[in-house]
Homo-oligomer: 191 residues x 2
């Protein structure tokens, strides 16, 4: 998606440790017009799929998912991150290891919001090591719903997540795949 790549080139900042900072338009301050274009592009790429629900994860996936959902005309469910144990039986739960924060947390979705007849599209802002996406996929699998695929805004193509998730049989559509970043020059190379 050219508009998105251009925006990343102009406003993204490459930081130490392969961090791509896009918090001026994607995940702290959010450019809603850009989100509209992102939503349209997800709809275009998944136009063949009969999506009944969009699943995302708090916090930075929610805004993108909600704006995109307007083009699919379906509800959004967001998985909650929690470090407290929930009452068994009421939620689908999955463990996710955060490499950024170096800790393991549970993600949960109330069972009533993922049903076997649902066709679920996962939407998230980033795909890096794939931990969050695999955790979300497990929630969908546990609910016996159909996982239609995953719409990702930015994939870090130099990390293993994309390969791992695609090898697990998930259809992943990433709107921008970053193959290399240079923190000294600020150069970002897209696939």
């Amino acid at each position: 998606m050219e508009l998105l790549k251009e925006r990343i080139r102009n406003d993204g900042k490459v930081k130490e440790g392969n961090v791509l900072k896009v918090d001026s338009f994607l995940n702290h301050q959010m450019d809603i017009n850009l989100f509209g274009e992102i939503g349209k592009e997800f709809k275009r790429r998944f136009s063949d799929a009969e999506v009944t629900k969009i699943l995302t994860i708090e916090a930075s996936g929610i805004g993108i998912a909600c704006v995109a959902a307007q083009y699919f005309n379906v509800p959004v469910v967001f998985a909650k991150k929690t470090q407290t144990k929930n009452i068994a039986g009421e939620t689908y739960t999955s463990q996710v290891e955060s490499f950024t924060h170096g800790k393991v947390y549970d993600i949960i979705v109330a069972k009533e919001f993922l049903k076997p007849e649902d066709k679920v599209l996962i939407i998230d802002d980033f795909l890096a090591n794939g931990a969050a996406l695999l955790g979300l996929s497990k929630l969908v699998k546990d609910s016996k719903a159909t996982l239609v695929g995953a719409g990702i805004v930015i994939e870090k193509g130099f990390q293993r997540g994309g390969e791992t998730v695609r090898n697990a049989g998930v259809r992943v559509e990433s709107l921008a795949i970053v193959d290399a970043m240079d923190e000294n020059t600020g150069t970002i190379t897209f696939r």
Copy 2:
């Protein structure tokens, strides 16, 4: 807002301890068509205000804020909840006490996203004791931006938050004000 009150009456659940559960359409599963109507209503109520930015707080405010922002044509910034100290000088910080979870956390916004020339509308899903809203107001005040007001989806009129925040001089527009709830009958009384 009649459509919203009707939805709360039909799908809201009154739980022990004055908890109003609206997670089937507002803050876990999210009805995007309803969010569109909510966004239009916020725009109608604040049509006299020249809003330049919408401020909300993670996680459940984000979806509503992003859909509403389309009607204002402005970016959204969400305050992040954190229990880690941030580098002084880079963020505006405020302390919020959560009565639900019984702990104090910091909320932060990067300084670059709130400027003195901004006219800020705060949007959030709930107003109960007012702690989050007062915390957000403080962030705006610290940034020297103008606080236009606060758009709230559901205000718990039997708690003190609304009065406290209005007494502090903040214009609050709540789309549904709950004056009483009965957990035995499930009855919800609106103002």
